[in-house]
């Protein structure tokens, strides 16, 4: 468990310039952030990405795969780790392209240490909330999958705004049975109110259209 708490987050530094990437590693270390360095994009891609909040500090101009190429590659692989770009000389079209593709920040070298630290903090925060969202969604999905087919059906109808009576009529069961199923759904989905259940159904996309 201690290991887990130490690795709260991880920063990937990708730059072909050794002194800069070592300097960045040292800087992050000085504020207690863990980082890993890579000399090229392909070296990074060969590495297994650990499941912790992380962000990438990426040089735009590198031999081989460029920073922007790597960004596109990760996007294709459905990996959404926030990226902070660094460049020796950036022009406006390059910046726009990177920001549009979801970059956290675009820093021109040389930058102030605080600038990159702020950018990294922002990136990690975004990654953390992204990960939480992803985790919640996963949990919701698991709960939903634990429902019986009949329960899933009733959850769709309930969240569509139908009354128990109507549901019973529609499914050809007694109102009592609907009530039991409904209680079971609320419990399994860990929903404290109908409103919460509706929000969950919305997120899962299982809410029946009112008809």
């Amino acid at each position: 468990m201690t290991d887990q708490s130490e690795v709260q987050s991880l920063i990937f530094i990708i730059d072909d310039d050794k002194s800069l990437r070592e300097g960045l590693k040292r800087l992050f270390q000085s504020v207690g952030l863990q980082s890993e360095v890579f000399a090229s994009a392909s070296e990074f891609l060969q590495n297994k990405i650990p499941d912790v909040p992380s962000c990438i500090v990426l040089d735009v101009r590198m031999p081989g795969l460029s920073g922007l190429d790597l960004q596109a590659e990760l996007d294709n692989a459905n990996i959404h780790i926030p990226i902070i770009f660094m460049t020796g000389h950036g022009d406006i079209p390059m910046t726009v392209r990177a920001m549009k593709a979801g970059a956290v920040e675009f820093l021109a070298k040389p930058f102030r240490d605080q600038e990159i630290l702020d950018a990294v903090q922002l990136g990690l925060k975004r990654d953390r909330s992204r990960r939480e969202n992803e985790k919640a969604a996963t949990k919701l999905k698991t709960s939903f999958e634990s429902l019986t087919p009949r329960e899933q059906e009733i959850m769709g109808l309930v969240t569509a705004g139908l009354m128990n009576k109507q549901i019973a009529g529609k499914l050809g069961v007694s109102e009592i049975t609907v009530k039991v199923h409904r209680g079971s759904v609320m419990q399994k989905m860990d929903a404290r109110s109908l409103a919460e259940l509706v929000r969950m159904a919305e997120a899962l996309g299982v809410r029946s259209t009112a008809s």
């Binding site: 310039d17 002194s19 800069l20 070592e22 300097g23 960045l24 040292r26 800087l27 270390q29 000085s30 504020v31 101009r61 660094m86 020796g88 000389h89 021109a108 070298k109 040389p110 930058f111 102030r112 240490d113 605080q114 990159i116 630290l117």
Partner: protein
């Protein structure tokens, strides 16, 4: 008068014109045309005159010959008539014979041509004879019965004997007439001197003459009596042969005489009773003398005509060829000077005038196109200069920013390690080491760039700065025109060469000139003059100056204008003069500015000249 003579001399001075090919062609063709026309005219005129002349001469000679022949015929007829009546009475021995003698003597007196007169009786015996020369004889009884003069006369009533000469001097002829029936025969010895005199008197021109040949072709009358006396037979003469063959009555023949031959024009007429031929001849030379004169006159006219035509052609050709040459010279001038603002000054509505107008029009379009092209050129040069600069800057920026970023990052890290409650000296030290390394790395980059710039001397060659100045001026010609800037250049002719990078020096001079042009853009109240000079300043150094009449340089800016990023222009980068100075300095020279006399700024370039004999 002198002026006219000079003008003529100018027209005749065609040595220069003959160098081209058009001019001699033109003159030759037109002179030939005139020559042929005149020659044809003269030839036809001569030919027709010749034929007219020949016909009329022949006619005259023919008439003369006929008249003379008629006269001779008449002469004989006359004698015959006189003789005729003596034959009416046959010879009888009668007392009347004395009377007859007397009457015959009277006859002799009346007819001077008859020298002797004899009467032959029926048997051919001479009965009576009277003579101017000898004694008269009566009934001499000499028998002439075998003499042709008797039996021929008897047979044919008349007998014409051959011509003979007495005392080798006088031509004579025997004429015998027979009476009717048994009548006697009268024989007369006729002196032909009369015919000779008559023939001699016939005058044909200057050297023409008449002569008579008998039926056998013997010459019997000729102005030159000696020929006659030699008893020449002329039957071999072509005209005589022709006449005897009965051919047309006039010919032109070559007469071969003993010591010379000449062509003669001859006409003849027959003398009826005698079968003699009367010839009238005229030497061709004389007959055609007027023709020769005519030919001479025609030749002189031909020559004069030709001369006049030649002169006229020269004049005309000059009128045509000279403007063409002017055009050619002008085109060459334009080509050499590349000055498309020149215009031909040729007035005239003729084809050449229109050609000149077309030429000028073409030049106008050419100069407009040229101007457009050259301003495009300038824009291009500027753009490429900026692009080059931009690329260079980007590369430098990247190389420098990399270590700077490492320094900044390490500095931040170091400070943070030290600022901890429990400072990590070890890490801070490591960071400082990194900072030190990267600072050196940055300075190394700068050093490399400088040395690259300095080392790049392989493009250097021996150059004549004047050519570069002129090239750049030609390049900005359109720009200068557009801004109405006049150029004064004072370039030292024998400026020694310098060893330099052509492109870089061009860039510097172009830069200074463009700066000057821009500086004068605001000048409204005085002349805009760009002045470029080159001179030797001191041994081993060439000095090139670029002066303008712009606003000049503010004295407080004077120290900074060569600094990078210093600019007074709204759109400038402030790199131009800085780079210019660097270029000149790496060539071992200096670039500085000073204030001009009056208005404007002066930029001075000093470059060391190459040492003589050192080449690569």
């Amino acid at each position: 008068m002198i002026g006219r003579a000079r003008k003529l001399a100018q027209i005749l001075d065609t040595t220069a014109l003959f160098r081209g090919r058009l001019f001699p062609k033109f003159v030759a063709v037109f002179t030939a045309v005139v020559f042929v026309a005149l020659l044809a005219n003269a030839t036809f005129e001569t030919l027709f005159s010749y034929q007219d002349r020949k016909a009329s001469l022949i006619r005259i000679q023919q008439e003369q010959a006929e008249a003379a022949a008629g006269k001779i015929t008449e002469f004989f007829k006359d004698i015959e008539g006189q003789l005729r009546w003596t034959t009416y009475q046959p010879w009888t021995m009668a007392a009347s014979n004395q009377q007859r003698l007397n009457s015959w003597r009277l006859l002799l007196r009346q007819v001077p041509a008859i020298t002797e007169l004899a009467l032959l009786d029926d048997a051919g015996k001479e009965r009576l004879q009277v003579s101017r020369l000898g004694l008269d004889a009566l009934d001499s009884q000499i028998d002439f019965s075998t003499d042709p003069k008797f039996f021929e006369a008897k047979a044919r009533k008349a007998y014409y004997g051959p011509v003979y000469f007495r005392h080798d001097s006088e031509p004579y002829m025997t004429l015998a007439l027979a009476g009717v029936g048994n009548a006697s025969v009268s024989v007369a010895e006729v002196n032909l001197k009369f015919i000779w005199d008559f023939v001699s008197q016939i005058k044909v021109g200057e050297h023409g003459h008449a002569y008579v040949v008998d039926a056998q072709g013997r010459l019997i009358a000729h102005p030159d009596i000696s020929l006659v006396l030699r008893n020449i037979n002329l039957s071999n003469l072509p005209q005589v042969q022709a006449a005897r063959a009965g051919l047309p009555q006039s010919t032109q023949v070559t007469e071969d005489e003993e010591d010379y031959s000449q062509e003669v024009l001859t006409a003849y007429s027959a003398i009826a009773p005698l079968n003699w031929l009367m010839f009238v001849e005229l030497p061709i030379n004389e007959a055609y003398a007027p023709l020769y004169y005519l030919i001479l006159r025609a030749s002189i006219l031909l020559i004069v005509g030709l001369l006049l035509a030649f002169l006229a052609d020269l004049f005309l050709a000059r009128r045509i060829v000279q403007p063409l040459e002017q055009l050619e010279k002008f085109a060459s001038t334009v080509r050499e000077t590349k000055d498309y603002t020149l215009r031909i000054d040729y007035r005239g509505n003729d084809e050449i005038g229109r050609l000149a107008v077309a030429f000028n029009g073409m030049l106008s379009e050419l100069s407009v196109a040229r101007e457009r092209e050259s301003s495009n050129h300038i824009a291009l040069a500027r753009a490429s200069r900026l692009t080059m600069l931009g690329t260079l800057m980007a590369s430098i920026t990247h190389e420098i920013n990399q270590p700077l970023a490492a320094i900044a990052t390490n500095a931040g890290a170091g400070m943070r390690f030290l600022a901890r409650a429990n400072p990590d000296i070890h890490e801070a030290n490591a960071a400082l080491k990194e900072i030190d390394g990267n600072a050196h790395r940055a300075s190394e980059v700068i050093k490399n760039i400088r040395s690259t710039f300095n080392k790049d001397t392989h493009d250097r060659a021996l150059l004549n700065i004047n050519y570069i100045v002129l090239e750049v001026l030609a390049l900005v010609h359109g720009e200068l025109n557009k801004h109405r800037i006049s150029v004064e250049s004072e370039l030292l002719q024998d400026l020694p060469q310098v060893r330099a990078d052509r492109i870089q020096i061009q860039q510097v001079i172009l830069n200074l000139i463009i700066n000057a042009v821009e500086a004068m853009d605001l000048v409204k109240n005085r002349a805009r003059v760009l002045r470029v000079t080159s001179e030797m300043q001191e041994p081993g150094n060439a000095l090139i100056t670029v002066q303008d009449t712009g606003a000049g340089i503010d004295p407080k800016d004077m120290d900074q204008i060569f600094d990078a990023f210093f600019t007074t222009k709204s759109s400038g980068m402030g790199m131009g003069l800085s780079i210019c100075r660097s270029i000149i300095e790496i060539h071992g020279g200096q670039l500085w500015a000073s204030s001009g006399l009056g208005h404007g700024a002066v930029f001075n370039i000093r470059l060391p000249v190459a040492k003589a004999g050192v080449d690569e």
